[in-house]
């Protein structure tokens, strides 16, 4: 034992005590309480609650419209929407519209993602080229692409190409920026290793840069499918012969509110299906990449 320490301690304590004698320190409360634990409900109970809320809202809507609390002319009514949905599918236009929107979305998604990724990765190739292109990429990023939609429709016409073009315009920028961010985060030491072995630039690009960027590209697939769908719908809003966006615009302008709801519902379902596909694609790709 250290005698110096033993001798010193009481003196320190005394000093502290006399200094605080004037003001009595607030005493801490003595707390004894149970750790708050949330009771976790079982999954069936949660699902029951979810369904209950849905059914309740629909019922409320139906009744409110019956009693004219909600104006059925503007808000429509669940029962009417349901019958419109059945006629929509029975008449046969439904499939044409769904396929049209689906096709332009998927085409725009694939083209935009691929072109953007390649463009972004190409910036690795030369820093001069990357620096020259930088202001253009920033311009492209800051332009509200949807504002160009009328122009794009004028150029590409009323058909599918204009919808694909708008979807591409939306997706390509995100893809380019993400792929470029991926390229810039390639480990410089990793590059040095490749060069020290005597690798050519092409070898570094194909064996290091591209595999390195693939997880970055996978991470934008989800964002891009949503953007591509938005692009297609806006294209159809501007001018189109088919598609769910056109159906919404048409129904709205003729005050067929129940058809607007039907189209929105179908669109939501379509969007969910596409998210599921992309989610699955992402999982498969990640399995091949992450270890």
């Amino acid at each position: 034992m250290n005698t110096k320490l033993l001798a010193g301690t009481p003196a320190v304590m005394r000093a502290a005590h006399s200094g605080q004698a004037a003001r009595k320190p607030t005493e801490q409360r003595r707390i004894v309480r149970k750790l708050p634990v949330q009771k976790v409900w079982s999954t069936p109970l949660i699902i029951a609650a979810q369904i209950g809320i849905f059914v309740g809202l629909i019922a409320l809507w139906e009744i409110a419209a019956d009693f004219k609390i909600l104006d059925p002319f503007f808000w429509s009514q669940p029962s009417v929407i349901w019958s419109t949905l059945i006629t929509f599918f029975a008449q046969g236009d439904a499939l044409t519209d769904i396929v049209y929107t689906f096709k332009s979305t998927i085409l725009g998604f694939i083209l935009g993602t691929t072109a953007g990724s390649l463009l972004g990765m190409s910036f690795w190739w030369s820093s001069n080229y990357a620096r020259i292109m930088q202001p253009y990429v920033i311009c492209l990023e800051s332009i509200p692409k949807l504002a160009l939609a009328p122009l794009i429709v004028l150029i590409f016409g009323m058909g599918l190409p204009s919808k694909v073009a708008i979807a591409v315009a939306l997706t390509i920028v995100v893809s380019t920026l993400t792929a470029y961010a991926g390229v810039r985060s390639v480990d410089k030491d990793q590059e040095r290793l490749f060069y020290s072995i005597g690798a050519s630039r092409w070898q570094v690009f194909t064996k290091l840069v591209i595999p390195f960027c693939i997880p970055w590209i996978i991470s934008i697939l989800r964002v891009n499918i949503g953007l591509a769908l938005t692009g297609s719908i806006v294209g159809e809003f501007v001018s189109s012969e088919h598609g769910l966006g056109r159906t919404i615009l048409y129904a709205g302008s003729t005050y067929e509110i129940s058809l607007v709801w039907v189209a929105v519902l179908v669109l939501a379902a379509l969007s969910m299906v596409m998210y599921a596909i992309v989610g699955w694609l992402e999982k498969v790709l990640r399995k091949g990449v992450d270890h």
């Binding site: 030491d189 040095r192 060069y195 020290s196 072995i197 005597g198 064996k207 290091l208 595999p211 270890h291």
Partner: protein
């Protein structure tokens, strides 16, 4: 002894210009390394060890001087030496065998053949059973082994090792040093090894170049006359302890009085 050393650093220096001011990273040095020797560079950070490696690997051009490998100028030429950096730099998307085969693949060996050549070595050097694993499944020591095998499978006479065991724990480090000595005898390459660890340098090397910083320079060359093959018990021999102390004293005194006249050996 060969008439012409395998690797010659002839009057190599490196001066950076930064905002009108020049900064000497490396004042002129001469290093001659005979074939099949193991040479270590030790010194404080900023003594230019990494600069030397970059220049020898052809990744940087020296301000003055010439690198010669087997009498042939190799200044600014990549692919003449095998370079292992401090980080293992294994590619996470490649299996262990494909990582080890990377150098051969880049140098034009078909992938199938490169794998066939790598496999027996993985088995012999303690990576058997992990051929098709990904690097994330390996321990730090095993990753360094894989990185070292990748380096040695590159068909060059000179091998540069930049603090390969710097990040390992003491026990793994000791194992790796013994393993490296084994590889050194098996492969018969010429090795330059950078380390902060004096004991490691004495244990592994034939010659030790002691360096000082500001500016980076060589202050002494110490031959290590311990017989090979060496095993761990050598570290407690009086000769080993004397040499270790000599190096430590040199490093210590150069740290106290920087930028004195460079004492060439």
């Amino acid at each position: 002894m060969d008439a012409e050393p395998r690797l010659v650093l002839d009057d190599i220096s490196m001066v950076f210009e930064r905002g009108g001011q020049s900064f000497t990273a490396l004042s002129p040095i001469d290093i001659r390394i005979p074939a099949g020797k193991f040479v270590s560079l030790i010194g404080p950070s900023g003594c230019g060890k990494s600069t030397i490696f970059n220049i020898v690997a052809g990744l940087q051009l020296p301000t003055t001087g010439d690198i010669r490998i087997d009498g042939e100028s190799a200044t600014g030429t990549i692919g003449r030496v095998a370079y292992m950096l401090q980080k293992d730099l294994l590619l996470p998307w490649r299996t262990v065998v494909d990582n080890v085969a990377l150098g051969m693949e880049i140098r034009g060996v078909p992938m199938k053949e490169a794998r066939e050549r790598a496999l027996p070595l993985l088995h012999r050097y303690g990576l058997g059973g992990f051929e098709t694993s990904y690097p994330s499944a390996l321990s730090g020591g095993m990753r360094q082994r894989a990185a070292l095998l990748r380096t040695l499978l590159i068909d060059t006479e000179v091998v540069l090792l930049d603090e390969p065991f710097g990040a390992l724990d003491a026990q793994t480090k000791a194992q790796m040093q013994e393993w490296l000595l084994q590889l050194f005898e098996d492969f018969g390459r010429t090795v330059i090894f950078v380390t902060h660890d004096v004991e490691e340098a004495v244990f592994l090397s034939d010659d030790i170049y002691v360096m000082a910083s500001r500016p980076g320079r060589v202050i002494d060359i110490m031959p290590v006359d311990l017989p090979r093959p060496r095993d761990r018990s050598v570290v407690s021999s009086p000769r080993f302890v004397t040499m270790k102390k000599y190096c430590l004293d040199l490093l210590h005194s150069s740290a106290e009085q920087p930028a004195a006249e460079p004492a060439a050996a």
